[in-house]
Amino acid sequence: MRFSIYRFDPESGQKPAMQDVELDILPEGKMLLDALLAIKDIDPTLSLRRSCREGVCGSDAMNINGRNGLACITPLAELKQPITLRPLPGLPVIRDLIVDLTQFYQQYRSIEPYLINHDPEPEIERLQSPAQRAQLDGLYECILCACCSTACPSFWWNPDKFVGPAGLLQAYRFIADSRDQATNARLDDLEDPYRLFRCHSIMNCVEVCPKGLNPTAAIGNIKALLVNRTV
């Protein structure tokens, strides 16, 4: 199979370039990550992140034939050749397919991704009814692979100011949580022309999410809550 892989070595002093690679591999039943690891066996200088190899850790997010996705759950047989692999767009490249996710994590950190509850700690746990728990479905599954935020033009233009789809999905995950008591403060933090309202409902995030989540819907819910609070 034919591959075209983005290569960049910061120590070489050379500009990034696409490298053509031929690999003898039967695609049936294999994922893209299997091919990448086979290529890495031949050329150990190829750098990429990967860990769980089953779409749970979110490490091997990359741009596959122009679309962000996880290499470990992308069937090799379904990809058009040459398979073009680039690092996630919009973030600084550290080496080959590895990007610097600092901006992404900074935005995630900025939404305070943890329960804020000032009640005394209960003996066992903070209980939820099944209906309250159901509010978190479609939100808690996010693995922070960064496929969505790096597919979002608004995040490309303003990564320092716009929280991005992943961060906003998580912001809504805590707003929707019945055990959280900081809803108003969270909405205050997001009521901002840059932090929330850079989202123009382009929906690239929904298109690429490897877990099938819908950040645009979560952002819509946050907007609805803000409207509810304002008018």
């Binding site: 233009w157 320092d160 100011k161 933090d189 009521e191 901002d192 022309p193 309202f197 850079r198 409207v227």
Partner: protein, 116 residues
């Protein structure tokens, strides 16, 4: 790095709502006008003139134009916020946009009420 001075401008909801409601008004006006045009074929100058002689039609058209300008203001400002990095250039362009839209408003009032 995340900029430390971006949280808490505390606006955005109203503009977002304005954009949605102005879109609805523009849609209603457009559908109404297109329906009128389709039902009154062939369109003659006299009929067109008579249509815009009604005060209600003038106000409806003005409402449409104002919706368009408000809608355009939010949209153009969004584009400037996305793409223009330097604050002073962004501010200059935003002021220029406001001036243009105010002039357009005066212009359409002149046009609509010039129909004798």
């Amino acid at each position: 790095m995340v900029s430390r001075v971006v949280s808490g401008a505390h606006y955005g909801v109203r503009d977002w709502l304005v954009q949605r409601f102005s879109a609805v008004i523009m849609l209603v006006y457009s559908v109404t006008l297109i329906a009128y045009l389709v039902m009154h074929q062939p369109m003659q100058y006299a009929m067109w003139h008579a249509l815009f002689s009604y005060a209600s039609m003038r106000y409806f058209t003005l409402l449409f134009a104002l919706s368009l300008y408000l809608h355009a203001w939010v949209g153009v400002r969004d584009i400037l916020m996305d793409y223009v990095r330097l604050t002073w250039i962004r501010l200059t362009l935003q002021v220029a946009t406001i001036v243009a839209l105010v002039l357009y408003t005066m212009w359409i009032v002149t046009i609509l009420w010039s129909v004798k």
